[in-house]
Structure formats: structure tokens, C-alpha cells
């Protein structure tokens, strides 16, 4: 209970923790995946492992868009900046993601015109103020972010701005969850569902997890109390032999999601037949591409994107960590060959990745992590 003092409601936290301890069946092992990288970050930052019984095991999911972007897509995106009269724009967290020929920051230092933006609308504005340049936005993110890109493309069309385009790497979380559930190494009992993604998607898309796979899903917020409450709700369902989707974050998440945002996604994007995820491989219908109706604003149609495939070193065991069969520190590359400074695998790339979070808070985690699975 060492870190409990930092929490907002230490008494509430202790109550929920005590309730979890009372509720778990001692003879049973509970493997629960928090899907969202924001949850992973919060769990490590707040030392939540410390307040959970030993037979609850948290498995850190694929909900980190930087982490799951394959190196080949990074290379493809950065190659756009090699063109003449091109300004490549991206969010700050993309700047440090390594491609095979360095990061965006390193390319920028070598003379490429790569600029950080805080909104896709900033990129559109750059296109308006630089009419002689091609301005491309390197788009990443789950459903939280994808509608903003969609609306920016609609805005570009409405304004007739044709020197703006999007290199879409937007992904959708549900097929990734399905891929994990279908994995032969799958050991999970239930899920803590993503909070901010669900403000857009609602809870409905997760119903298949309960219906088809018999696993509970509890959509949760990001405060320690939210996460513990969601874990308790998952444990209660498991003990009762139930599998339902519950919404712990109802104060932010409407059951049916945000209709306007979903409509914008549907208008601008189509699902790619297949898309590669770092650590998980090729997953059908798991990513968004710009529809042919919006070809003018699709960087993959505008530029000769090489379509590079870069295989991660086979020594990296990201897939096993993602499906819960290995802990981050049990990967043979963890902390030696693969570190946040020189990431080899997907999960070491962003602070929301399980391995980067584990590395950063390793001191704390080392005291509490069970020795093996």
C-alpha cells in the first residue's frame, strides 16, 4: 500500500482494493488485459500492481498506436518527406519513432521539411499558407483520433485545398482484440476496455467479446480508482460465470458512442482488407484507408509510397507479451538489446507501450512482479 498516499481518494482506493482481495477466489488465477496504453501508463505510474492480490495478473494490451505501427509504415511515411516541395507533418510522439533510416527528427536535422503539429487542422492551415508546397499529415491513432482526421479531410474538400493529403495509419481496436482472442497462446480471462476510444465507439463494438468468446469487458476511465473498480467488476463477473460488457466510465462514455464522429469516419474512410500490426502481424479489416471519393487527399495515391515491409527481429517477443504468455521483462531482449532509447520491438517505442512503461518503472515493478507465469 506504499503508493496509496498519492491517490486522490486513498480511503476509497483502499476500500476497493480490500473488496478485490475479498472477492477473488484464492485457488483461481485471473488474467485481465487492459487494452488501452493509457491504462497501462496509469497502472505503472500509480503502482496499482502493489494493491492487487497476487492471483490477479494484468496483461498489457495493444492500445498504443505508436507501438503497433510497423517500421515499414514509418519508412513509407518518412519517404514522403524526401520529395521536393513537400512539408511532412505529424504529432510530437511520431517524431522519435525509429524507421530503418532514422527517426523523423533525425531526417529533419538532415534537411527534410518535417514539422510537428498539434492538430490535423494545423497541417491543413499550413497547406493554405504554403500553396506552392504539398503538405502531408502522417496520421496515426485509434478511433479517438481518426474522426478528427476525417473531419479535416472533409474541411479540406469544402475549402478546396488540394495541396493537403493524409498518410493514414489509423487503426481500429476491435479486430486487434479479436486477433488476440483467436491466438492459440491466448490465456486471458477478461478485459478492461478502452475509455477514450469508447467515447467515440461506445460499448457496443465490444459485445462480441462477451457473446462469442465468453469473456467479460468493463470499459473504464484512467484514474486508479476507475481501473481498480473495473478490475473488481471483471472479477465479479468471472466468479459468477458471467460475461457481459459493463460501462464503468458511463459519465464519459455513451453506450452507443458519438454518432457524428462515427458518421465522419464512415464517410471518409474504408477498412483496408488487411493491415500489419507490430507484434501482432497481419489483421484483416483493422485499419482505415482514405476512400476513393477523397483520392485527392490520400497521400498513398498522391505520392509514390514504396510499401516497405520491415520484419522485426525475430528475437523480439512482442507478440507473446501482447497475448499475455510472457511478461515484458521475460522477453529475451528486454532492457539489454531493447530499451526506450533504442527500441527494437513495438512495445518499447512509446511511453504507453507495456515494455517502455515496465522499463521506466522497473524499480517499482521488480519488487512486485511475480517471478514467472
Amino acid at each position: 500500500m506504499k503508493y496509496v498516499d498519492e491517490y486522490r481518494d486513498p480511503v476509497l482506493i483502499e476500500n476497493v482494493a480490500r473488496e478485490i482481495a475479498r472477492t477473488v477466489k484464492p485457488a483461481r488465477h485471473y488474467r485481465i488485459m487492459e487494452v488501452c496504453g493509457g491504462h497501462t501508463h496509469s497502472i505503472y505510474r500509480h503502482g496499482l500492481r502493489d494493491v492487487l492480490p497476487e492471483n490477479i495478473e494484468l496483461v498489457h494490451g495493444p492500445g498504443c498506436p505508436v507501438c503497433v505501427l510497423p517500421t515499414g509504415r514509418v519508412d513509407d511515411g518518412l519517404s514522403i518527406a524526401d520529395g521536393d516541395d513537400v512539408i511532412l507533418t505529424c504529432f510530437g510522439d511520431m517524431l522519435r519513432v525509429p524507421g530503418t533510416r532514422g527517426t523523423a527528427l533525425e531526417r529533419k536535422a538532415r534537411g527534410a521539411d518535417i514539422r510537428m503539429v498539434y492538430s490535423p487542422l494545423d497541417a491543413l492551415k499550413l497547406a493554405q499558407t504554403n500553396p506552392s508546397k504539398q503538405v502531408c499529415f502522417f496520421a496515426i491513432g485509434f478511433e479517438t483520433t481518426a474522426p478528427s482526421t476525417a473531419l479535416t479531410i472533409l474541411r479540406a474538400r469544402a475549402l478546396g485545398v488540394e495541396n493537403f493529403s493524409v498518410f493514414s495509419n489509423h487503426v481500429t481496436i476491435v479486430p486487434a482484440m479479436r486477433a488476440i482472442l483467436d491466438s492459440p497462446r491466448m490465456l486471458l480471462d477478461g478485459f478492461v476496455g478502452p475509455g477514450h476510444v469508447a467515447t467515440i465507439t461506445g460499448c457496443r463494438p465490444y459485445e462480441f467479446v462477451a457473446r462469442d468468446y465468453g469473456k467479460p469487458v468493463v470499459v473504464a476511465g484512467f484514474e486508479p480508482l476507475d481501473i481498480l473498480q473495473a478490475i473488481l467488476m471483471v472479477v465479479r463477473q468471472l466468479n459468477a460465470g458471467e460475461a457481459r460488457v459493463e460501462n464503468e466510465y458511463a459519465r464519459f462514455v455513451p453506450w452507443n458512442g458519438n454518432g457524428a464522429a462515427l458518421a465522419a469516419l464512415e464517410t471518409v474512410f474504408a477498412l483496408r482488407p488487411v493491415f500489419e500490426w507490430r507484434g501482432l502481424g497481419f489483421i484483416p479489416e483493422s485499419a482505415f484507408e482514405v476512400r476513393a471519393d477523397f483520392a485527392t487527399w490520400d497521400a498513398e495515391r498522391r505520392f509514390a509510397v514504396p510499401g516497405v515491409r520491415v520484419t522485426d527481429p525475430s528475437a523480439a517477443q512482442c507478440g507473446e507479451v501482447l497475448t499475455g504468455s510472457l511478461k515484458p521483462a521475460q522477453c529475451r531482449l528486454f532492457g539489454t538489446v531493447c530499451s526506450p532509447e533504442r527500441p527494437v520491438g513495438a512495445l518499447m517505442v512509446s511511453s504507453e507501450g507495456a515494455c517502455a512503461a515496465h522499463y521506466r518503472y522497473a524499480q517499482r515493478a521488480a519488487e512486485t512482479e511475480p517471478a514467472g507465469v
Binding site: 498504443c64 498506436p65 503539429v117 492538430s119 490535423p120 491543413l124 474522426p147 478528427s148 474541411r155
Partner: protein, 96 residues
Amino acid sequence: MCLAIPGQVVEMHPDQPMLAKVDVAGVRRNVNIGLLENAAVAPGDWILIHVGFALSKIGEAEAHEQLRMLRAMGEDELAIEEVRGYSFADDRGGAP
């Protein structure tokens, strides 16, 4: 990455119906409200903001809760830096 920042609407732009000026911890910027269903927002309303867009309307208690969460995650400064960085609309609500 999926960071969402709470802000309070301080001004609407009658000639720019897609924009609302919001206050985020003292920083004032225009954000796009095109993703709000039944986009009726008015000065005083609280919204969740992500990469320049309002994602949803929220209550005041939720807004404070969200700020507290960002602080607890050590991401509040990053959030304010993001809002400060929005450069797509000038203070009077210029395009896009």
C-alpha cells in the same frame, strides 16, 4: 496519445459555426466542434478536447475530474502545451 483535455467554452463565432473559443487552464484557443452530436454548445459549457476537436460535452464535475486525472498521470503540462500549440484558427476564428 488518446489524451483528452477538458475546456470551458467562452465564446461562439456566429460567422464560424464550426468553431468555439475555449479556456483550458487559462489558455484560450479556438477548437473545432464539428464532431459534437447536436452541436449545440454555448458559453459556459464544458467539452473534452482532443487534437483540436471537441469530442464530447461533459459536466463541470467531469471536467475537473479529467484535469485531476491528467495531473495524476503527469500529463497536464503536455495537455496545455497541446492546446497552446493549436495554430489553425486565429483568435477571431479564422479558417480552417
